[in-house]
């Protein structure tokens, strides 16, 4: 017998291996099909949510503008003698304009992410003052609901007890604005919001805990999808387009970080964000370890 011929045992082994291989690929295929099915469902949902968005946007842009116009007209007609009456009206204008501005920021940010034009601009950011300024900006909203917002920044010796962390300030600001805005929106009146931040092992951690109505369990996994809102009724108190958390997630992704949500209905939600310190190669495009990444030496291939 020539050596090329297989013994029965070898043949059996070979068959066994091939069987196993085809079972593995069959399993993979099933898994992929499952993913595909899910993606299809999501696409359909996304499509209908998109048309929902268009009907929403009319409501949510036109109504605030109408009230801004009406309120400013009212202010204009106030006589010089009772100028005091203008103040509450101006406050209302401010809050309408504030909401509009915030929603537009999210829309522009989402559009930029979707067109792939988001640029990261890493700078040394004073996290403490950034978060404090966000809390300040939303102060009038938390006051309306009589909420107490506590913020604590834990410094460490590693950072010389300073509040500086290198990251993209504008992105972090929008992330925090969305998170704080959501917490305020869903908090029960006169409750507390706890915000903690600090740097540990080259990673920035921020946690926000509210005592609100929480997020229903079946909604948790869809919470970062675009146009997805907790309450889909058009004139609900839940204003916004359902873009805030998708922008938040996209920004955190771009910064290489993570966001975790734990929620218990009617008890509240805890959100933990972690953002790693950017590696040196990312901000300026080159690795610090020298020539390996440079092009003007040997070892390049040209295409």
């Amino acid at each position: 017998m020539s050596k090329l011929q297989l013994t029965d045992q070898e043949l059996l082994n070979e068959l066994k291996i091939r069987m196993e291989n085809s079972i593995t690929s069959l399993n993979q295929l099933t898994e992929l099909n499952k993913e595909l099915k899910l993606a299809n469902v999501k696409l359909n949902e996304s499509e209908s949510l998109k048309s929902h968005f268009l009907s929403n946007i009319t409501n949510e842009l036109v109504n605030p503008f109408a009230s801004i116009l009406g309120l400013s007209k009212a202010i204009m007609s106030i006589g010089a003698s009772d100028f005091e009456k203008a103040k509450p009206l101006a406050q209302l204008i401010y809050s309408e304009a504030f909401n509009l501005d915030f929603q537009l920021r999210n829309i522009f940010a989402a559009a930029k992410v979707e067109s792939g034009q988001t640029m990261i601009d890493i700078n040394n950011v004073d996290i403490n003052s950034l978060i404090n300024s966000v809390i300040d900006v939303y102060g009038y909203k938390s006051k309306q609901k009589k909420l107490t917002v506590n913020f604590n920044y834990t410094t460490s010796e590693e950072y010389c007890n300073q509040f500086i962390f290198p990251t993209d300030a504008e992105m972090l600001k929008l992330i925090m604005s969305n998170i704080v805005n959501n917490s305020i929106k869903f908090s029960s009146a006169a409750s507390n919001i706890e915000i903690n931040a600090g740097v540990l092992d080259n990673e920035l951690f921020i946690s926000i805990r509210d005592q609100g109505k929480g997020i229903p369990h079946d909604h948790l996994e869809r919470i970062f999808d675009r146009f997805e809102k907790g309450n889909k009724e058009i004139n609900s108190v839940n204003e916004g387009y359902g873009l805030g958390l998708s922008v938040t997630k996209a920004y955190i992704d771009i910064l290489g970080g993570r966001i975790e949500l734990t929620s218990e209905e009617n008890k509240g939600t805890l959100i933990i964000i972690s953002i790693p310190k950017p590696t040196e190669q990312v901000p300026d495009g080159f690795a610090s370890d020298g020539n390996e990444f440079l092009f003007n030496d040997v070892g390049n291939q040209t295409f």
Binding site: Q28, E31, L32, E35, L38, A39, V41, K42, L43, E45, S46, A110, V113, E114, S115, G116, Q117, T118, M119, I120, F224, D225, R226, S246, V247, K249, A250, D253, I254, Q281, V282, D284, G285, E292, F293, F295, G299, N300, Q301, T302, F303
Partner: protein, 163 residues
Amino acid sequence: MADNFPIHYLYPAAMFFSAEPHLVHTILGSCVSVCLYDKERKYGGINHYMLPFWNGQGLASPKYGNIAIEKLIDQMLRKGSRKENLIAKVFGGGEVIDTSSNLFNIGKRNIEIAEVMLKEEGIKIVASDTAGKFGRKIQFNTQTGAVLMKIIQRTVATNTTKE
């Protein structure tokens, strides 16, 4: 002459297109970059996607191949390119993360989506360097369409364990 072109560092999930000459740098692991170049108009664009398909989660960003490729072609056409003048170069899709538990060969699937979509669009892939167990750094000259590539060995990822 290319030395004084502005350098643009392309982040993952982003895209770059400009009619002005640029050198675009990007670093690829299992991600894939499609460089599109208009032979007639002498400009080009590039994407850098991380996953093959958008599954409806989050934003429909060019983090996903099907979106990144479509958007890049769209952008070139909107600028006035004609599809028959476009050529493509495809890089990346390596297996840089240990593949024992990989999510069904992300690198491979990233390459596949580029090949399939470009074929559907009738855009020829004139050069490519894909797959393999290493990363790549590429530099795309948007004026000439030339791509310089450097292999990045996975030394950092595997040979040194965390201290």
